[in-house]
Symmetry: C2
Subunit: 287 residues, 2 copies
């Protein structure tokens, strides 16, 4: 496995693989890799001939006062992690390599970015879509891999790829959880032992929501009240708890169709997100 830091070097490697007729997979990450990333890298290695893992903590997707400065940076550990999983190339550019001059060009997706995480992180997804477009253009991958944990991000990226006719396929893999149910996240390492316990309220709330829906509950407010009460018990500070259409991300008054139940909760100083997908089409798939 090779580690490269420049756009020129990643393009050179990929060009060679392309000439050899290989399919190219890309797993875009911000590093601090965990079992969630591992599931994406494993899928890429299984499906593609040449797998690039990008590691770039993208400054343009962090708002003022967010955790850009303290975001974990663990390149050596990440490199060993990727090599063990069979990745072929790590692309770890500097901010200057990605933004050599003031970036003036932005890729923005309307509507899908308004709610959920977008409501309190107004510039976040503009940074995400722009850096993903850049990474797709730099690597020239056939398939890019994303995690369902960032449910809104995946809906937005899928829409961007479709609207801009980007010549690649987006694959989304399920949330990977710790044995106790906590969704894997690079930000989990910020949590104290006591906070780790309280952080389980996200999953507990989602599970309760799923059970109520399985039992026939279809009223948004009732379901949200249930989830908010569970989070309050563990002193979680709610950013949002919402039930939306899984594709349009528009809030659902009555629960129907393919449904995304999503929440963002601050546990101490750490903002965590989690979600579940529920398909109420025929036949319903409530898992």
């Amino acid at each position: 496995m090779k580690i490269v830091h420049t756009i020129e070097d990643v393009r050179k490697s990929v060009r060679q693989s392309r000439i050899e007729g290989k399919t190219i997979g890309l797993v875009p990450t911000m590093g601090a890799l965990h079992a969630g990333h591992a599931s994406l890298i494993e899928a890429a290695v299984a499906e593609c001939d040449f797998v690039v893992v990008s590691i770039f903590v993208n400054p343009t997707q962090f708002g003022p006062g967010e955790d850009l400065d303290k975001y974990p940076c663990t390149l050596d550990t990440d490199a060993a992690f990727c090599e063990n999983l069979g990745a072929d190339l790590i692309f770890a550019p500097s901010a200057d390599e990605m933004y050599p001059s003031e970036p003036l060009t932005w890729v923005e997706v309307e509507k899908l970015t308004d709610g959920l995480c977008g409501a309190n992180r107004p510039e976040h997804f503009k940074g995400v879509t722009t850096v993903c477009a850049k990474l797709f253009n730099i690597v020239g991958a056939d398939i890019a891999y994303f995690g369902q944990k960032d449910a809104q991000q995946t809906a937005i990226i899928r829409r961007m790829v479709c609207d801009l006719n980007l010549p690649l396929q987006i694959c989304v893999y399920p949330i990977v959880r710790e044995p106790n149910g906590l969704a894997m996240s690079s930000r989990n390492r910020y949590l104290s032992a006591e906070e780790r316990g309280r952080a389980l309220c996200l999953r507990k709330a989602l599970t309760a929501c799923r059970e109520q829906i399985a039992a026939g509950q279809r009223d948004r407010n009732t379901l949200i009240d249930t989830m908010e009460a569970i989070i309050a018990q563990d002193q979680g500070r709610i950013d949002y708890v919402s039930i939306v259409d899984a594709e349009t991300l528009e809030p659902l008054k009555t629960i129907a169709g393919k449904v995304l139940v999503a929440l963002a909760v601050h546990i101490g100083d750490t903002r965590l997100i989690d979600n579940i997908l529920i398909d109420l089409n025929n036949p319903p798939n409530i898992v």
Copy 2:
């Protein structure tokens, strides 16, 4: 030469050429082709192995009240024109093919789009950059060809390609003029015989500006006053007359460096644009 109307068909043709090791050129147009387009197609045919001319009157770059509905549509003539010049493929999609659902994703370039044509056509360049990004992604060209007549557009597209790491090269070719000096434009066909005469004021104003600069004039206001007086003599209604840095497009108070003198003028109901580039770096190149 083939004419295709779907994204799938253009990708199929280009994929085959790519396998054969050919370099791919793209000339994006809105049809109504003239000698200006011919210079781009000829350059593409000379430099590339497989040349795609796209013909698409892109609705998202026209504002309310602009000339979308009356924009000339001459596909048969355009096809013969391209074939004579040696193009390999025409891609002429419908609006539904390019925008199968409400477009939510936009590519926008800041700052460069604020002045000149952007001031009175606020959504125009957002439509241009987005459709160009789409065309680049659909065709997968190595080189795309643009005309210097749309000076602001070329600066914006170059910046977009650079900022988004789009894997293609942008080539810009000089303005082609009628023998009397009128810049070639698909919109010239809107002009009456009398208006054609008056339309020469654009070129006259630019020539006078160049002569004053060659004679040592460096004051913006003096140069602009000269140009505005010439346009007024022919009853041109000025949209803008400006002198800007050729790369940043920022207005220059004192004329220095690589300079773009650009103007937009209504002759009757027809809006015409024209410009000259003047390089005052050492050695100066005032042509």
